[in-house]
Symmetry: C2
């Protein structure tokens, strides 16, 4: 017995949402629901319209009997602005200021609801580009990388500070960490990145950009390609930053007694 | 103008899927779609039926005008078994064996599609219990913790090996690591866990159980409560394990030249 439209719409919606950037064919759904391809095609048109009206994203339909559709999560400017404003409000409380002028953000970046919003924001900037993998360095960048990877439908790669026996052989680079200009090492399992892979780098916080520059050096070592770099927050830094062209959701100024948080360059870069 | 049923079903499905274990009221949807509560109630019944038929999970409806529904992700035994069998097949290739009898699993545990399946499996065991937070220790447990947290609609907590300036003050415990009986330290930011919190501990791999026992000690230090412990894979260990009652998706035997992978105790614990 073929499945009725309402049931198909619900199950197809779930199916698309769980597999962003993945083509699902008419044939697959026709068989799953024992329904005609023409009916599935109409279902897709309805889902496409609702996703568009609600700002969920683009359901890109590929016409023809061999066609299908893929879901591309996006975000609208007003929703993006609301998310960034909410983050600023939540982070702008006095009890978040730690000794040394640091900001406590770990609770936000381990909340799945917040991480989904952050991942969707970052992924939307690169929604129309070909990205093969997300790269970050342990530890606090990982949840952000995972969420972005989820929305772009690609794997993520974790760069480590020290080599682990469970990673096999690695390639390492030295990098300059922080304003202290300390030399550190980061390494990546040789198995985890193939030559030619198009990599998006994400991290939770940037000051001088040394860590991000280290990841760029690793990408070069692996003959992979850097597509872009986005951080959750950019802090103030005295002197010349080591990299350019970084997208940031937030701008944190901890140079005075009080921490000031402003929107980063995300909205301008993505929507203007 | 009120929104038509097909559009409501698509948008409500997305809304529930994005917020597991969170009550959404009839009033909220009635206002969102400018529709009667009775219509929304019918929509929920349709979604409930489809989620049940497809094994997506339970849409638990709260009756009455002040009621609503919450989505509880679950998994059926045959689907769980298929996922575990697929994991075993993917991990049972000779090129995954690393020097020292270790198994390379990092690619699977950084693939969002695999992580969703793993998170859904683990979360389903605790779907009917009150869990307030997921705990893991850096680094490789983090993606699993994030995915489980996502399906249970709670935050996750990352225990660190060394104290970070961005975490504020911490509480630390010593623990016995591995068969080498080395004493190590793990610590957790004081802000990140409140007394009385009901904690589910997850990790990627267990051998002797020392790391898991360390997390249990931390939970005690914080006057929080341990609800359960689940690992992705349990390895073989000569001697008495330091903790009992651990759920494992996979059992890895690397005691001989060849690595043997079998299902862990998950299916038995959850479905029998």
């Amino acid at each position: 017995m073929s499945v009725r439209r309402s049931d198909r719409l619900i199950d197809m919606t779930r199916y698309f949402l769980e597999r962003p950037h993945t083509l699902v064919t008419l044939s697959f759904f026709a068989e799953r629901y024992d329904s005609a391809k023409s009916s599935i095609s109409e279902d897709m048109a309805i889902i496409k319209r609702t996703f568009s009206n609600r700002g969920t994203g683009i359901l890109e339909t590929i016409p023809g009997a061999a066609g299908g559709a893929l879901f591309i999560p996006t975000i609208q400017k007003n929703e993006a602005k609301t998310i960034i404003d909410d983050l600023i409000e939540q982070l702008s409380t006095a009890d978040r200021i730690l000794p040394g002028g640091y900001l406590y953000m770990s609770d936000l970046l381990s909340n799945p609801v917040v991480l989904k919003k952050v991942g969707r924001l970052i992924a939307s900037e690169y929604a129309q580009q070909k990205v093969d993998a997300i790269m970050t360095v342990e530890t606090k960048g990982i949840p952000i990388a995972q969420s972005v990877a989820d929305y772009l439908g690609v794997p993520f790669i974790i760069v480590r500070h020290d080599s682990k026996i469970t990673e096999g052989s690695t390639i390492s680079v030295n990098y300059v960490s922080g304003s202290s200009a300390q030399i550190k090492k980061m390494e990546l399992s040789k198995r985890s990145l193939q030559a030619g892979t198009r990599v998006l780098v994400v991290d939770d916080y940037m000051k001088g950009g040394g860590t991000l520059k280290g990841m760029q050096a690793l990408i070069n070592e692996f003959d992979a390609e850097l597509i872009g770099t986005t951080v959750f927050a950019q802090g103030n830094f005295n002197g010349q930053r080591m990299i350019d062209n970084v997208t940031s959701l937030l701008n944190v100024d901890a140079s005075r007694d009080e921490i000031q948080i402003q929107p980063g360059n995300y909205l301008t870069k993505v929507f203007d």
